[in-house]
């Protein structure tokens, strides 16, 4: 029996060691880098599975918290520790499990790239950071890893930095995340300040805060208004990281990175970290109906807006990116409606089927050398495994029984049905849109005819090599079966609220999804040319969608306005105060004083000697008076 307290260390640090060794020694040896990196994640996965197995047998031991001294100064001690509970166990399995599939797939996908080792070093660094977020038992440690995933995400989005668009996309992702994290870090310190109001020592620990914050609220030591502000600030981090309205604009651009990166970071794990954070800090928002409602509304707005945008995209990765944003909106909405369990449930199923979809798209891109769905087509014949698994992923995303997406999405809809009818209808509409845009992509890219005009290498298009094919099959398996694994029951730990199921909602949502599929089929099944029929139906509205609601432009204008305003103020301050008063003023003062003092310099030898003598006399007189 391995020491159970050792396992979190193994899980966390094996990817870091891999990243470390690759970065230092193996930047020129792709083979070793690939094997080392993949092996490290497989070790993490094995350790996570062992940990999971152990606590599945001994559930009464949960939650386990281990802490080691990290930063300790008077009045502030921040331990470095792990919190193992049902939430982190589940998340560990997702990150390392889906991660293992994607690492394996990457070996095939990135083969031949001249920066292959750098790719795996960054990916390992990401795995380390993400696992750190999952295992962190206090706010500050979580924040450190939160920033680390942002860095590794930046490195991987801009992996092909020779391409200006990729470098820009990396910057955009990083900068927009800073906007959210600015609020987040203030929120963290606010919670920390509030935790000390009861007289106890302030703390960053989730386990302490989870009991203390509600206590303080009950004793009226903390007013709901202040708590609301703190909760919103923490939520800012979620809005940035999990690509919620209005900060979601970085995620579509992040598709500039290699496709496995999009699958791992920008679909399955990192962007889900925000939802994980909400679940982890649910105690903070639990008793604040206003905050919950706002979160739910932002979630549903995000879900709807992104789903609409996905309808007009022609780049398969962009479609999946907007779909990811939309599904993240669903998760955030679920948390906002009061159930972090259901949010985490959807996170889990989404991790499987969205990673599957991205990897499938990656296989298509790898073999067809295009991301444009209009240049694909008739893939069921040419790439049967990829096409079949992509279809499974699509059905899971659309929420068709018995695929996993049905279960989690249905629980969200059932919850919305009970809590808020307006949100319910918006979410239902989004579900229909989801089915519609995925059907569109499937008909154009896979089922439809090959529209590539200048293509001549038809025989070269085939399924990917086994190392890329098997991850697809594994993920497809989980996309089908994840709904039957009792994930919500596991998160709840066999107590608490009953899993939501509402037959009427289930039938309605399936009906809506089928309607979406039917509409998509009707519109796109017989399109022969490369003209989107929607473009003809909705001229102006279509343009607005193509321009992404002009949100990018609005952000740019806003940033420009404030930048220019601040620059103008600083310029005036600089030229009027610093230069005129400071630099020139000092010079004028010196010159003015000098023009008086220079009269002392007569140039006459005797004058100098006389003054000198007076000084001497004065000195002697002074000494006499003091009595030596």
């Amino acid at each position: 029996m391995v020491n159970i307290t050792l396992l979190p260390w193994v899980i966390l640090f094996s990817p870091l060691l891999a990243a470390f060794f690759i970065a230092l020694f193996f930047l020129r040896s792709p083979k070793i880098a690939g094997i080392l990196s993949t092996a490290s994640v497989l070790i993490s996965f094995a350790a996570s599975a062992a940990l999971f197995g152990f606590y599945l047998k001994n559930p009464s031991l949960l939650p386990v918290e281990t802490a080691y001294a990290w930063i300790s100064i008077p009045g502030l001690s921040i331990p470095f520790g792990f919190l193992i509970d049902r939430l982190s166990l589940l998340m560990l399995l997702i990150v390392t499990g889906v991660g293992s599939c994607i690492f394996l797939y990457s070996i095939g996908y990135m083969r031949g790239d001249q920066s292959f080792p750098r790719y795996f070093a960054s990916l390992s660094l990401f795995a380390f950071s993400m696992l750190g977020i999952v295992l962190a038992h206090n706010f500050l440690m979580l924040f450190v890893f939160w920033e680390l995933v942002a860095v590794s995400s930046y490195l991987l989005i801009g992996f092909w930095f020779e391409k200006p668009s990729a470098a820009d996309a990396g910057n955009k992702a990083f900068i927009i995340n800073r906007v959210g994290d600015f609020g987040f870090v203030i929120g963290i310190f606010m919670v920390w300040m509030l935790s000390g109001l009861g007289g106890a020592e302030r703390t960053f620990l989730f386990s302490e805060l989870a009991t203390r914050i509600p206590d303080l609220a009950h004793q009226n030591l903390v007013t709901p208004a202040i708590l609301t502000v703190a909760a919103f600030l923490v939520f800012c981090g979620v809005v940035g990281k999990s690509a919620q309205f209005p900060l979601y604009i970085w995620l579509p651009d992040a598709m500039e990175g290699p496709t496995p990166v999009s699958a791992l970071i920008h679909a399955a794990t990192m962007v889900a970290a925000g939802v994980y954070l909400l679940a982890r800090t649910f105690f903070l928002i639990h008793d604040l109906p206003n905050v919950l409602e706002t979160i739910a509304v932002i979630g549903v707005i995000t879900a709807g807006m992104a789903a609409l945008l996905a309808v007009v995209q022609n780049d398969i990765k962009k479609i999946l990116a907007y779909s990811t944003i939309s599904q993240l909106g669903y998760m955030v909405m679920a948390v906002g409606l009061g159930s972090s369990t259901i949010g985490m449930y959807h996170l889990t199923t989404h991790a499987f089927f969205k990673a599957l979809l991205f990897l499938g798209a990656g296989a298509m891109i790898h073999s067809l050398h295009t991301q444009n769905i209009w240049e694909m087509g008739s893939l069921l014949k040419r790439m049967p495994v990829t096409a079949a698994t992509f279809l499974i992923g699509t059905l899971a995303l659309c929420g068709i029984y018995p695929f996993s997406g049905f279960f989690s999405k249905d629980e969200i809809l059932a919850l919305a049905y009970e809590e808020n009818r307006v949100i319910y209808f918006a979410a239902l509409l989004t579900a229909g849109l989801t089915a519609f845009y995925m059907t569109r992509a499937v008909w154009i890219a896979i089922l439809g005819p090959d529209r590539k005009t200048h293509g001549h290498d038809h025989h070269a298009v085939h399924d990917a090599e086994p190392i890329m094919k098997w991850p697809l099959i594994v993920l497809a398996f989980f996309s089908v079966t994840a709904g039957f694994m009792g994930i919500p029951a596991f998160i709840m730990g066999g107590h608490g609220e009953h899993p939501h199921f509402n037959m009427a909602v289930a039938i309605t949502s399936t009906g809506v999804a089928l309607a979406g599929i039917a509409l998509g089929t009707l519109l796109y099944a017989r399109v022969k040319n490369r003209q989107d029929p929607l473009e003809r139906f909705f001229g102006k509205a279509y343009d607005v969608l193509v321009k992404k609601y002009y949100l990018d432009e609005a952000f740019l204008a806003l940033a420009n306005f404030f930048q220019k305003l601040i620059a103008q103020i600083l310029f005036i301050f600089d030229s009027k105060v610093i230069i005129d008063r400071g630099a020139n003023g000092a010079a004028q003062l010196t010159a003015g004083l000098g023009s008086f003092i220079r009269y002392a310099q007569t140039g006459k030898l005797q004058t100098t000697a006389l003054v000198f003598s007076f000084g001497l006399v004065a000195l002697v007189a002074f000494m006499f008076l003091r009595g030596f």
Binding site: R598, Q601, T602, G603, K604, L605, Q606, A609, L610
Partner: protein, 100 residues
Amino acid sequence: MISLHHYLTVSALLFALGLAGLLVRRNMLMILLSIELILNAANLSFVAFSSYWGDLSGQAVVFFTMLVAAAEVTVGLSIAVLLYRKKDTTDTRELETLKW
């Protein structure tokens, strides 16, 4: 009996004489001479104190001062010579270039 006070009085008179010459005279050579007087006033009091306390270090300092005075006069006289060549005078009133 010549006491310490006598020596010190002579020394003070010498010093005052030297200082007065320094301030009043315009001729550079006279100024240099006045400086010598001041130095010698100091030497006299050094020797007087040395004999009074029975400590020879005062006399050692006097030798040192003489040496410095010799060097100072050498430099001072060469400046005077250079000045004379340049300005045809040794009057310090002509030396005004160091003023504002």
